[in-house]
């Protein structure tokens, strides 16, 4: 993993960000006036109980959803000025997702799953293949590259997902309860890989309800009723 990024550059800047859902006449503030900055190379956990707004926050950080008010800059890009296609491009090059339920495509092999983000970014086939093999080797699955998700254990599937998240060498790895569906042994292995990624310079945001997982990060942000506390 090469790292030629400038240290201490803001990856995430959020100013007075709110997300309001309208349900009939009621307004629900899922996120309430959030100010958050995450620097290059940080390992931040966002911890809160269910219903606290952490999933909404993660969706907005991941450019899967848009805020109602405020500003959000991802690696210098003003997300409020981007259309759907530009947001897709941003997701493709700036963010690597790790989901609780892995979200691998069941009909594709581990290799093809890792290649997928590179296909959408338009990387040539040969380069794509080499990079996918390299990443799968890094997460210790070099002997399983042609297996489908159903032929892999939960821990192995999550490692494929990590390799996929790294495919386009994104600025930010966004992990949503990465250990939530794993037994404790596999969970530990996955957390170990995530910590290693951070040591190599990747910026990581980890979203969890489990305070023990959250404490493994260098910085913990608590979220409750749509507001954040540090």
């Amino acid at each position: 993993m090469e790292d030629n990024r400038i240290a201490s550059k803001n990856v995430i800047t959020m100013r007075n960000l709110s997300k309001i859902y309208k349900m009939g006449d009621n307004e629900v503030k899922a996120l309430d006036n959030i100010n958050l900055t995450v620097d290059e190379g940080e390992f931040v956990s966002i911890v809160g109980p269910s219903g606290s707004g952490k999933s909404t926050l993660m969706n907005i950080i991941g450019c899967l959803d848009v805020m109602t008010e405020g500003e959000y800059y991802l690696n210098g890009n003003d997300t409020s000025k981007l259309n759907e296609n530009k947001l897709a491009e941003l997701r493709s090059s700036e963010i690597g997702f790790i989901f609780q339920s892995f979200n691998l495509l069941q009909k594709l092999t581990a290799l093809e799953n890792v290649e997928l983000p590179m296909i959408y970014k338009g990387i040539p086939a040969k380069e794509r293949y080499n990079r996918a093999v390299e990443l799968l080797t890094m997460v210790g699955l070099e002997k399983r590259i042609h297996h489908k998700p159903t032929e892999l254990s939960g821990g192995q599937q999550q490692r494929v997902a990590i390799a996929r998240a790294l495919a386009n060498n994104p600025h930010l790895i966004l992990a949503d309860e990465p250990t939530g569906n794993l037994d404790s042994q596999s969970g530990k292995e996955v957390m170990k890989i995530i910590k290693e990624l951070n040591e190599r310079g990747n910026t990581i945001i980890l979203i969890t309800h489990d305070i023990n997982v959250a404490n493994q990060a260098k910085r913990t942000v608590k979220i409750m009723d749509g507001k954040i506390y540090e």
Binding site: A88, L105, P117, N168
Partner: protein
């Protein structure tokens, strides 16, 4: 994303759902097959009839006399006087009736036509053996007959008919010629006819008169002038009673037959086209099911950076591939079906390039049309909602 990648992804998804893709394709296959089969059947039938009409010769003018008997019809000399024009090269008045033909213990009711020596050239008849009726036969009112191939086999079996005597309504006639088998034509089948000199026929059938006149224009460009001349003459003879006769030339007949059979072909094609549209609805149906089933997959792809256009392309290519492959298979089966039909129905049925191109592109168009809505639906899914979908 490169087009090749989109095609690869779509093919993979089609292959992953083999049975479903096959059944969806079947709708298009049947549609294209029936369009090609039915339209070429219609065209084959048209060609058959057209070639029969063309074989009559392009200079031919046919006159039917509606009246019967001496008062309302024509005499032989009146009929021959119509041919007295530089624009008309040959003329043969015809008098036809049914009569019992008897040879030995075989007796059949056959069509008897009284004709003159020009009839053979006018109708492009071919002799198998012997000779046709000569002008001298007419002048001498000879009792000679030229028989069609079916008549020959009915009456004589394997015996050589030449020189034998047959009885037509009790009168003895000598067979002087046998016609080669020519198949049936639309005016009537000469395989089933017996030809005798027309003047001889007047002797036996005094009360009948001329029923038809065949004329040929001296060249193709004079057909209209010749027809005008014939019309004038007949108008004078029948004193302006235009219902007493009917004149047709080959191109009139061709255009009538063509317009009838074109309508028929269009109708057959239209019915088959409905099958194709139903096949298209099948594609749309299955694509919609597929979009719903793959909502989560679409969400994942979008989270990983797929743009609206990438998803749209993937689903469009899927429906186009199904309709395109279905179209190709349909063309192949349509070919086979039309050859089989041609074989069993004794028609020359060959699907034209136009029919193939039109039905194949129609199947692609259907894939496109019925694929747009499901593909658009897939592409428009919001990533978070799609990811949340179980």
């Amino acid at each position: 994303m490169a087009l090749m990648q989109a095609i690869k992804m779509s093919l993979k998804s089609i292959i992953d759902n083999k049975l479903r893709s096959f059944l969806t394709m079947l709708g298009i296959v049947i549609g294209v097959m029936s369009v090609i089969g039915l339209v070429s059947l219609g065209q084959g039938a048209t060609e058959g009839v057209t070639s029969q009409i063309k074989s009559m010769g392009s200079n031919l003018i046919m006159v039917s006399i509606m009246g019967r008997g001496m008062d309302t019809s024509l005499s032989y000399s009146q009929a021959m006087s119509i041919g007295d024009s530089p624009y008309i090269s040959q003329i043969s008045p015809i008098m036809s009736a049914n009569a019992y033909a008897k040879y030995g213990d075989q007796s059949y009711e056959e069509n008897i036509s009284g004709v003159n020596e020009n009839y053979m050239t006018l109708r492009n008849l071919k002799l198998k053996e012997g000779r046709f009726i000569l002008s001298i036969d007419n002048d001498m009112r000879q009792k000679v007959a030229v028989i069609g191939s079916n008549v020959a086999s009915d009456l004589f079996g394997f015996t050589d008919p030449l020189g034998k005597t047959i009885q037509l309504d009790g009168n003895n006639f000598t067979v002087v010629g046998v016609l080669a088998s020519g198949g049936s034509s639309i005016s009537n089948s000469y395989d089933d006819s017996i030809f005798i000199p027309i003047k001889t026929m007047f002797v036996f059938q005094r009360n009948r008169g001329i029923t038809q006149i065949y004329l040929s224009a001296s060249s193709e460009q004079y057909v209209n002038i010749a027809q005008y001349h014939v019309e004038n003459m007949l108008n004078t003879i029948f004193k302006g009673d235009t219902n007493a006769y009917r004149i047709m030339n080959q191109s009139d007949l061709l255009s009538t037959v063509n317009s009838v059979s074109n309508t028929l072909s269009m109708m057959l094609g239209g019915i088959a086209g409905i099958a194709l549209i139903v096949g298209g609805i099948g594609i749309m149906n299955i694509m919609l099911v597929s979009v719903t089933e793959r909502t989560r997959e679409i969400g994942i792809r979008k989270a990983l950076g797929a743009k609206k256009r990438d998803i749209l392309l993937q689903f469009m290519i899927e429906s186009l591939t199904i309709s395109g492959v279905g179209g190709i298979v349909g063309v192949i089966f349509g070919f086979i079906a039309s050859y089989l039909m041609g074989h069993f129905m004794n028609l020359t049925v060959s699907p034209s390039i136009n029919t193939i191109l039109i039905s194949f592109s129609f199947s692609l168009l259907i894939g496109l049309f019925f694929g747009i809505y499901p593909a658009n639906k897939a592409a428009g899914l919001k990533p978070i909602e799609a990811l949340r979908y179980e």
